[in-house]
């Protein structure tokens, strides 16, 4: 069992606070992705788990043992770095086997383990090479092999795919997922790429400015973002967010007078409340011009994505994108759309929190589905 418990962890550099009281439980064998923009503190949190950064306040426990005062080597974690951090003066075999050498394992045993790991990560043919003679993807594999050979309780990934080209990234993503299924080790993966997060995670933690915005399974974060930040960060193309004011129980009005119908049963709002209405580009319905409740939009330009088409328009003076299945009719000139009431997300403009059926704002869903 290698569950990780993070309790009220804070990090400050001098007077600058980087993390403000993070509490998070990571289950044994879970694949957790920490997602957030650069500077949100996600890497700092990971490095604190690894033991590379001191914990200013709070406590981190791995497998029930508080590790605050332990050296990285005593924590049973292995880490894959963004720039791989391979030892340039060692061969692939020496790189992979280095941890075992430090641990004092006999040479024969070491060689056997290195060969085994090399087979798993597909590097048997490259064992005698230096890192400088490898491609980006191969270096990534060496870094993974080096982490795997110690059979760690916890795998830590610090944006390991961001130095790879797009195609390789997708491929390595699948390999990491496959590896996790096979090893079932607790994994914490830090990234700023929401697609990576969605595809890899059992659970995603979205961080912003040193705080957890929301934690939960990818699907939940996608369909029910707890905050405007999560809504805008997850999903590509990004969710449309339209600032508006509630003018009636079932109606919001944008600055230029455009009115958007709301389902009064889904949200309890106050008249005059400033909100942001969110709708994902794929949830927008394209309808016949002149249908009831349809908005007529000027098409600015379209992007053909192969399997679909992205139509850029403006609604109420705001940029607005519509995702259209490519098979549908050509969209040119004007486009009539409908905003299905059950696909709308509503956020309080001041707090950024999601407005719910109850009318109460829902706070951070930390460890909602642990």
């Amino acid at each position: 069992m290698a569950e990780i418990a993070i309790r009220n962890v804070e990090k400050t550099y001098g007077k600058t606070a980087v993390l403000h009281g993070i509490t998070l439980d990571i289950a044994d064998g879970e694949f957790l992705v920490i997602l957030g923009p650069s500077g949100c503190g996600k890497s700092t949190l990971l490095r604190m788990i690894a033991g590379l950064e001191a914990i200013t306040r709070g406590e981190i426990a791995i497998a029930g043992r508080v590790v605050n005062a332990l050296e990285p080597r005593e924590r049973g974690c292995a880490m894959v770095f963004q720039n791989y951090a391979l030892y340039p003066h060692m061969t692939v075999a020496e790189n992979i086997g280095y941890a075992l050498k430090v641990a004092g394992l006999p040479k024969a045993e070491r060689e056997r383990r290195v060969a085994e790991i090399a087979r798993i990560v597909g590097l048997e043919a490259f064992l005698a090479r230096r890192p400088s003679e490898l491609s980006g993807g191969q270096r990534q594999r060496v870094a993974m092999g080096r982490a795997m050979i110690r059979e760690p309780k916890v795998f830590l990934f610090d944006e390991p795919l961001s130095n790879l080209d797009a195609k390789l990234r997708v491929q390595m993503r699948l390999e990491i997922r496959r590896l996790h299924q096979r090893l079932q080790a607790t994994s914490v993966f830090v990234t700023h790429d929401q697609i990576e997060a969605m595809s890899l995670a059992d659970r995603i933690v979205v961080m912003n400015q040193g705080r957890i915005e929301q934690a939960g399974p990818p699907r939940l974060l996608y369909t029910e973002p707890a905050t405007r930040f999560v809504a805008s960060f997850l999903g590509a193309p990004a969710m449309n967010l339209l600032p508006a004011t509630i003018v009636a129980k079932d109606r919001a009005r944008m600055a230029d007078g455009t009115e958007i119908a709301l389902d009064p049963g889904r949200f309890v709002v106050e008249i005059g409340q400033a909100v942001e209405i969110g709708i994902r580009p794929e949830d927008v319905l394209i309808v016949w011009p002149g249908s009831e409740g349809a908005h007529a939009l000027e098409v600015e330009f379209t992007e053909d994505m192969g399997s679909s088409r992205l139509i850029h328009t403006r609604l109420g003076g705001m940029g607005f994108t519509v995702l259209q299945a490519a098979a549908q009719i050509e969209a040119e000139g004007t486009l009539a759309i409908n905003l299905p009431e059950d696909a709308l997300h509503l956020f309080d403009a001041a707090t950024g929190l999601r407005l719910r059926r109850t009318g109460a704002t829902v706070g951070v869903l930390a460890s909602a589905a642990a």
């Binding site: 033991g51 990285p72 080597r73 974690c77 292995a78 880490m79 340039p88 003066h89 280095y98 430090v102």
Partner: protein, 302 residues
């Protein structure tokens, strides 16, 4: 291939560059050529004005004379011991101090760094008198310190005059190597240190298994510089050795120039032969280390 196309478009400039380069080489090489010519003639021929510029037939004789007369075999061995000692001592000291300054965070770190750095401005020649005083009795400063605390321990004097230790130690204590190593260590990415920590390597292991292998080229560059520097030392060995058995090769050169008797002309042919002989070991070191030396100074190869 910008450079290539530049050359194609400027054949005249290219030719001029080459002429300048060859002229520079000739200017640099000519004195050495004269030294060589002078070492191949007998004394009357060398002293003729103008001196001939073609080799004479006394080459073997001059070299044999000077080698035996001045006991260069023993002197060269002394020089070799000193130069090797300085080189090894310097590299060890430089790598360790730079390791401490770059990879550890302690209170007086920057103070230590600046203290070392400032010694760059104090070459041996500037601090030669106090250095001599220390070499004459290493225990003196210690005795002084003890006396400051009102004690009298009767520490025996430690005399380093006429010893290899005395010849080597003051030359080791300079900041150049530390500075070179510091600059190199600063280029090592933090994640490499962290990866080693994650793999369980402690500071000493990191030093031996990562920093030392990675700094091979720097080491070669520093070794070359230090060997030549120590080999060419003149003032310090002259000052600290009174025993002819401890004399170094460069010191011996000076003793050859005047003639055997006062008023006689200097024996230039033998002096020049000796000069060339003394130049050989550092030259061999430079030739042998050249590749690594250049890579170490350019420091792009990591």
């Amino acid at each position: 291939m910008r450079d290539g196309s530049m050359i194609e478009r400027a054949p005249i400039l290219n030719a001029v560059t080459h002429v300048l380069m060859i002229a520079g080489l000739l200017i640099a090489a000519f004195p050495i050529y004269v030294v060589f010519i002078a070492s191949t003639h007998d004394l009357p021929t060398v002293n003729r004005v103008p001196m001939p510029l073609w080799p004479g037939d006394h080459l073997v004789q001059n070299y044999a004379t000077v080698w035996n007369k001045s006991d260069f075999g023993a002197k060269m061995i002394n020089s070799l011991i000193v130069a090797t000692g300085v080189t090894i001592g310097k590299i060890t000291l430089a790598a360790l101090t730079a390791f401490s300054i770059v990879f550890f965070r302690y209170r007086a770190r920057m103070l230590v760094f600046w203290a070392i750095f400032i010694t760059l401005m104090l070459p041996l020649e500037v601090r030669i008198v106090p250095t001599y005083a220390v070499a004459a009795d290493v225990a003196e400063p210690l005795r002084w310190l003890v006396w400051l605390f009102g004690l009298e321990l009767g520490i025996a004097p430690i005399n380093l005059l006429n010893t290899y230790t005395g010849l080597i130690l003051p030359l080791v204590a300079t900041a150049t190597g530390t500075f070179l190593y510091r600059q190199f260590f600063l280029t090592i990415p933090d994640t490499l240190v962290e990866a080693a920590r994650m793999d369980g390597a402690g500071p000493l292991r990191f030093f031996w298994e990562h920093l030392i292998p990675l700094s091979r080229n720097n080491m070669a560059a520093l070794a070359t510089i230090m060997f030549v520097y120590a080999w060419n030392q003149y003032l310090w060995p002259l000052l600290i050795t009174t025993d002819a058995r401890m004399a170094t090769a460069t010191m011996q050169l000076q003793k050859i120039v005047p003639g055997p008797l006062f008023g006689q002309p200097p024996v230039w042919n033998e002096a020049m032969a000796a000069t060339l002989l003394v130049m050989v070991p550092p030259l061999l070191v430079v030739i042998f280390m050249q590749g690594a030396f250049v890579r170490g100074l350019v420091a792009t190869d990591k």
